[in-house]
Symmetry: C2
Amino acid sequence: MVAALVRSTFLVNAVYAESAREYGLTSQQGQLLCVLMAQSYGMGELGAVLGLAKSSLTGLVDRTERNGLVQRKPDPQDSRAVRIALTRKGSKVAEEFYVETCRRIENLTTGLSDADRETLAGLLGGVVEANKVPVVFLEPGGGAGLEHER
Amino acid sequence: MVAALVRSTFLVNAVYAESAREYGLTSQQGQLLCVLMAQSYGMGELGAVLGLAKSSLTGLVDRTERNGLVQRKPDPQDSRAVRIALTRKGSKVAEEFYVETCRRIENLTTGLSDADRETLAGLLGGVVEANKVPVVFLEPGGGAGLEHER
DNA sequence: GGCGGTAGTTCGTCTCGCGAATTGTAAGGC
DNA sequence: GCCTTACAATTCGCGAGACGAACTACCGCC
């Protein structure tokens, strides 16, 4: 049970990283793009969603911005704050990366029947729900979760 | 489906990292210790098992050795080669970390019935099998897998 | 006994993640 | 109105992690 979970985790990690690499992204940058597909965020919110310290985020956004994928926009309501949004190039890359990554992950389950896939999704969904995982992929809105994250 | 897999992956990652942190380890060092619990390895084999370039491994082993958890032993058959093995302290830490981490991961599934847990393990096991995931946790013997790793 | 392949290390470079200190701005309190 | 407190984000210094390319030392083999 534990072994299956841990090993499937490594599998998905590897697939995700591999897919990102092919789009010239790191896993973290890929994650950032996916989160931003839904909406723009301030640095603070983004830190909560991604489970990162704000100083970590500054660097990640810097590097991703340098690659022309995201941009910092001044927040009209609060001149201290900044909104991070995808650039046009970023939207394009995010979309392609997202679709391709989904395809590959879906592909991991080709050994299963449709019914099994259904069951697996349900069970995993239950585990995820029960443990308040932060929304790092798919689905906007939702919160930080993982109270013990750095 | 994809979302459930990705999110459970983040969950397990977080739990693993958190557990490692409490034992003064990084995830990678934790992984290294778990792999070495079963047997000693040469650097080359270790690279294959963990999916790392050999230059990456040198650093990981260096740091872990510095912490007194593993040691490099000369290979009696081949004086170029080196066998990486746990020290006594390393064995102790590995064992405790392993048990605790299993406990926590098991804990993630407390929302499920025994039957569901059984089903989940079976399905995930199937996915893992079908995709030749390398043995990074539990179970010795077995191979490298993930041909497309960096 | 010399030569090609193999095991590991070193080096330089980059990403990532953190905490502590810092800067600039928003908001309350009085 | 001004001043303090609180908050948003960045900067800095550090260490881990990952890579490829170049290098060293050694095994085997012809």
